[in-house]
Amino acid sequence: MTAPTSQDHPQRDHLVSALVRDEPRVLTRITSLFGRRGYNIRSLSVGSTEHPGVSRMTFVVTGDRGVVEQAMRQLEKLHDVIKIIDHSLEKYVDRELVLVKVAITPESRVEVRQIAEDFRARIVDVGRHALTFEVTGDEGKITAFIEQMRSFGILETMRTGRIALTRGSNADIPSHVYHGGETETLRPAVEGIEPREERARGVPNLF
């Protein structure tokens, strides 16, 4: 990206959700947009929502503020995207589920279980030479757990990618949502989803 903002802002992770139409190729459409514009997705999770025909994607994009805003504006243009939520501007809860298979020996077994307990990690599989844990939590907790386990020998991990929801407790706080003027009048409304008031950042109060 040649966005001039890149000198001003550090690279960091941004947590963004998109409500998208649940139609063939939507996932490809979105990931291909990321790919061809050169935005790196660190994690991506997709699932259905309470609305039939609407899926929710949560992704973590790495970059400076300018890169992320550009990515969101490009996403917003896609016909399949109903709305985009930048969680960094809201209070939100986020979770990630990770399966971690840790090597154990008769000597380490107890210690590994003890640490897992401290992290509220559940044992989901017990083998003679390995224990598999399920951990959910925010990214910090999961990273800390994996760090703790590293010395025992991590055999395999699988992370779902982060998911996030705006906190219900800040319903009165205006949501920062990208939603183009064009699309609002164009797209048939999805029942139950009200496009929220558009507000753009970086160039505040001018759109």
Partner: protein, 564 residues
């Protein structure tokens, strides 16, 4: 037609007719035959049979660029569909409203690598504004209506609808979807226009930079510029959005822009950009672009604001509305020094003095009237035409800007000529690009199109590539010589029953142009020019606009390739 007779294919045509589509450009094939069969029931639609799907889609683009209305093209599955790819990418880059309809194999064959099957929606995902596979015949008219709406609304672009053959044949029982109302373009925020006005009021060296998104706001932009008395620069895509005869016009910016345009941008303290995306051919090195200017960017597409250049005042909205708002409360700026400086830069414009491509292009474009449509292919002749032609109104200049598609010009001129049969549709092409779609001479003949005037500037080279090899590759001319293998263009035209004329010198040229233009039929003029002329001014790739090379430097002796 009774309800029982209605099929998906007929529903498609009925929907297109309902949307006012009068002409489609296309080429039949196995997987779209039901659509072609149904066409025989809709005599109100004119189908133009191109000789290659690329010709069909560029013609549809030419139609759209000349009229501002949607262009429609049709192709079969597989190779027919993939032949549309270049045109779709071209339309995407230049924001051309376009509907491409492709046939596909029957649904039960999709995904089996069936004969002439291609995943065209997958292939065209990144180069369409949106695309569809119709999987239920009852949805077909709605999909077409929605596709047209998406192609035309906001920043326009191409939409592809892929229709499996069994859907084309399936009985259809529903209604024919009426056109969607064109959505109201969003009006810019009052705070934004107020801040923009403030900047303009305090400007000492202002310029207005107008792009292809401004073509339908030409009247408003002209009023704006005159009200404030601010000089105007039009990009390659924006030529015609401001009258060239107005003393405020400075020409085109960028790689082959005018001295005045590039110097003015480099010196400006306030730059008002309207309907443009700051393409790298416009900006040169971004860090050196308008380094002293506060930039106001009027743009409908939010994703373009701040994408390339730092924007101080973003004005999101319709160019027409924004220009009107910015004209309100305008006061003529009294900036004699700025005007004098600009006058000095403008005086550096040199008319081509020696025989060559520039001279030839000047002679041709000098003969155009304000209503004539000028198309160009891609290359040196394109840049020369953009530099030398004087457009008084928008949608008279048709070329491939963003994608730089060789082969675009001639079929686009056919499309534009068919859209406006009463208007002369002139195309300037090079000997290289013309041969990429030369088969469309047959289309001229088949429909007896009489207003297309083809001018081939023949320097026997891929001239622009040669120019780069000359400047940046020590004159190692690698694979750019066409001279030994070019056809006799007049014989080629004659083979298609198109009359041809030729000029090889400055002396022969005026009479040849006269005869070429006076011919009541579409005709071809070949102008044979010296091999090695380059286009100047030029900003080398990666350089800033103020590092422009104004005139051709003395030629260094040719260095032989090391392995020679």
């Amino acid at each position: 037609m009774t309800q029982q007779d209605m099929t998906g294919a007929k529903a498609l045509w009925a929907t297109l007719v309902r949307h006012g589509i009068s002409t489609v450009f296309g080429y039949p094939g196995g997987a779209i035959m039901p659509v072609y069969d149904a066409l025989t029931f809709y005599p109100e639609v004119r189908h133009v049979l191109a000789r290659h799907e690329q010709g069909a889609i560029h013609a549809a683009e030419g139609w759209a660029k000349a009229t501002g209305e949607i262009g429609v093209c049709l192709a079969t599955s597989g190779p027919g569909a993939t032949n549309l790819v270049t045109g779709l990418a071209d339309a995407m880059m230049d924001s051309v409203p376009l509907l491409a309809i492709t046939g596909n194999v029957a649904r039960h064959l999709m995904g089996t690598d069936a004969f002439q099957e291609a995943d065209i929606t997958g292939i065209t995902l990144p180069i369409t504004k949106h695309n569809y596979v119709v999987r239920d015949v009852e949805e077909l008219p709605q999909v077409i209506a929605e596709a047209i709406r998406i192609a035309r609304s906001g920043r326009p672009g191409p939409v592809l609808v892929d229709i499996p053959k069994d859907i084309q044949l399936a009985p259809y029982h529903g209604e024919i979807t009426a056109p969607h109302a064109r959505p109201e373009a969003p009006a810019p925020a009052p705070e934004a226009t107020e801040r923009a006005r403030e900047l303009l009021r305090g400007a000492k060296k202002p310029v207005i930079l107008v792009g292809g998104g401004s073509l339908d706001a030409a009247a408003e932009i002209t009023a704006l510029a005159r009200a404030w008395d601010i000089p105007v620069i039009t990009t390659l895509m924006g030529l015609g959005a401001f009258p060239a005869s107005d003393p405020l016009w400075l020409g085109m910016p960028g790689m082959h822009g005018s001295v005045a345009a590039n110097r003015a941008i480099s010196e400006a303290d306030v730059l008002l950009g309207i309907g443009l995306r700051f393409d790298d051919r416009v900006t040169g090195r971004v860090s050196g672009f308008a380094p002293n200017a506060a930039i106001i960017h009027v743009e409908l597409d939010a994703a373009e604001i701040g994408k390339i250049v730092r924007t101080h005042v973003p004005v999101r909205g319709d160019a027409r509305v924004a220009a009107r708002l910015l004209t309100e409360g305008a006061q003529k700026l009294d900036l004699p020094e700025w005007k004098a400086q600009i006058g000095e830069w403008k005086s550096r414009t040199r008319q081509p003095d020696h025989w060559g491509a520039a001279h030839a292009v000047q002679a041709v474009v000098g003969r155009l009237g304000p209503d004539d449509i000028l198309s160009s292919d891609v290359g040196q002749h394109q840049m020369l035409a953009a530099q030398l032609a004087r457009f008084e109104r928008p949608r008279r200049w048709i070329n491939s800007g963003g994608l730089g598609t060789m082969g675009f010009g001639f079929p686009a001129a056919i499309g534009a000529g068919m859209a406006e049969p009463g208007v002369r549709s002139v195309v300037i092409a090079g000997d290289g690009g013309f041969q990429m779609t030369a088969q469309e001479l047959a289309t001229l003949k088949m429909y007896d199109i009489r207003n297309v005037k083809i001018c081939i500037i023949n320097n026997s080279y891929l001239g622009m590539v040669r120019q780069w090899q000359e400047m940046f590759h020590e004159r190692r001319y690698s694979e750019v010589w066409l001279g030994d293998s070019n056809p006799d263009f007049l014989k080629l035209a004659d083979a298609y029953d198109v009359p041809g004329y030729r000029a090889s010198s400055a002396e022969e040229l005026p009479a040849a142009i006269d005869a070429w233009l006076a011919d009541p039929r579409s005709s071809l003029l070949e102008v044979v020019v010296p091999h090695e002329h380059a286009v100047f001014p030029m900003v080398p790739a990666g350089a800033a606009l103020n590092e422009m090379i104004e005139a051709e430097p003395p030629r260094a002796p040719r260095k032989e390739a090391k392995d020679a």
